[in-house]
């Protein structure tokens, strides 16, 4: 699955290393050292962005740890094994078919900064 170069380039500033891989026919963007919004603990962690439908979510952002934030989140995905690592995700549905990858990432990170 190809994504426009401009979109993948837009993701790069958010992390220290960006790569992409496929697993089970599903694309994942690996965002090493992803910066998290203010109020998160830790402030940086590794993440995986799955930009296509998975587990009944239109897209999903997985984290290497369960991030503490201003609001309690429903971490309904724990220790998902993807790319030989364990990942965590909270229940957060991002709608919008026309979002760029960076906009999609932001929409997921908004989950740390708003109540509902």
């Amino acid at each position: 699955m190809d994504y426009p170069r401009a979109q993948t380039d837009e993701l790069k500033p958010y992390c220290t290393k960006l790569s992409m891989f496929m697993e089970g026919g599903v694309p994942f963007f690996s965002l090493e050292g992803l910066r998290l919004p203010a109020g998160c603990e830790p402030q940086v962690c590794d993440a995986l962005l799955c930009p296509v439908t998975r587990d009944n979510y239109p897209s999903r952002l997985y984290f290497s740890v369960k991030v503490k934030s201003l609001y309690d989140r429903n971490w309904n995905c724990e220790n998902a094994r993807i790319g030989e690592k364990n990942w965590f995700a909270f229940s957060w549905k991002v709608e919008g078919a026309n979002l760029t990858l960076a906009q999609m990432l932001m929409a997921h990170l908004l989950g740390f900064t708003k109540e509902k």
Binding site: P13, A38, G39, W92, V94, Q103, L109
Partner: protein, 165 residues
């Protein structure tokens, strides 16, 4: 005896190798820092930049020997050869400038709500998230936390496109 804070023309700097006109270096005092300026008529913005300050947060004030202080606007030029010019000081503005999606907006310095900032562009937190570009790419700000505005902050907004499920 000269006031050591006086702005004074300094030593003649060597001209370009091809023999162009010599330039004078002016030693200017800004907030107690002595900085070298290689032109006679710099702008207020250029002088602020010499001490890593920007007009979006600070104003530049020229002090003269025999007349009132004068606020130097960012694009206003100053004659450094003016013998009445003593020195410059800066002051943190009360009304500062921020940037939202590339456009400048003025706002009172201090703790501001996300709603106040989004209101500058006619948006509300119900529909839009505020993102701040600070030492890196834009990241979302919590809608219920005050934002410390000191001037020159760079913001973006994005449609609220996610929710808990």
């Amino acid at each position: 005896m000269d006031n050591p804070d006086f702005t004074r023309p300094g030593a003649e700097a060597p001209g370009p190798a091809h023999g162009g006109p010599h330039t004078t270096t002016y030693h200017v005092h800004i907030d107690g820092h002595e900085v070298a300026v290689h032109e006679q008529h710099p702008t207020g913005e250029a002088l602020l930049a010499l001490i890593d300050r920007k007009p979006c947060a600070f104003e530049l004030i020229a002090e003269f020997k025999h007349r009132e202080n004068e606020v130097i606007e960012p694009h206003q030029t100053v004659d450094l050869a003016d013998h009445n010019l003593k020195r410059f000081i800066t002051a943190h503005k009360e009304i500062v400038t921020i940037t939202i999606e590339g456009s400048p907006y003025t706002i009172e310095r201090g703790k501001r709500t996300v709603a106040e900032i989004l209101d500058k562009v006619g948006k509300t937190p119900d529909t839009y998230a505020l993102l701040e570009e600070k030492d890196g790419p834009p990241l979302p700000l919590p809608a219920n936390q005050p934002v410390d505005i000191q001037g020159c902050e760079v913001f973006h907004f994005q449609v609220q496109s996610g929710g808990s499920s």
